[in-house]
Symmetry: C2
Subunit: 132 residues, 2 copies
Amino acid sequence: MQERNTLQKRIVHETLISMCNHPTADEVVAEVQSSYPSISRATVYRILNKLADSGEALRIRINNGADHFDHQTFPHYHVHCSVCGKVADVAMPVEELADMLSDTSGYKILGYSLQFDGLCPECMKVEEERGA
Amino acid sequence: MQERNTLQKRIVHETLISMCNHPTADEVVAEVQSSYPSISRATVYRILNKLADSGEALRIRINNGADHFDHQTFPHYHVHCSVCGKVADVAMPVEELADMLSDTSGYKILGYSLQFDGLCPECMKVEEERGA
DNA sequence: ATCCTTATTAGGATATAATATCAATAACAG
DNA sequence: CTGTTATTGATATTATATCCTAATAAGGAT
């Protein structure tokens, strides 16, 4: 048996979808528990991680703070306000985006960070050998 | 008096520059303390933050792990191996980079995350009012 | 060179975020 | 319905980073 459909998974995912402000894991916990007090923090964290790992949600890492989650999975980017911490969507091609953002969005862009995740050649080799 | 040139600042910055593996703050602490045991963790963290905030270093946030630092400040990006955790540089224009990376680098790209930091219009307003 | 002001530091305590542990629960295949 | 085992709840623990405070020292003024 591989994976089970539990009430908790459905509730956490639906709650995330209903929240449009790029909530942190703890904000999702609070929202879930407002309707289902018996669902534990560990469960919400576990399910959010699974959603992020499987590509059903995005995890957004912010300097000096908790991870935020986004149920929108189409390719897009995020702006994070250094003062109030709000996270907002950006839906544009990325080249020279920082400048465009400064010019057109009203944001004052101070910096950005792009990061790819995946397997390096060495680890892919190991994975293949384990699988074969 | 605005800012003071301390031995600690020089040592931390020089140590970061000498480390080419995108070290975490704790790795910088260990390296610094191997030569200067009296320099405290809090000091190294403070100085690394200051370097990142002033643009003299880059902070790279990684899912499920500590921040990494990079003394190279020219615009470039990073690949993070999900298995071994290594961080490597990417020096290419970013459009459709994920696909290019998969094809040419030997990495298997599973996802990426781009994030801008700055001030949102509301916070800029507040800042301006405070300054005026 | 010496004094003064105050930015900075050392070291430990504390805060915060996320994960590990493990017994109890419940999904679902047979 | 039953058995297997993935999943959960609750809490402990870890990991990462910051806060706090007295002591130190940078660098301007004398």
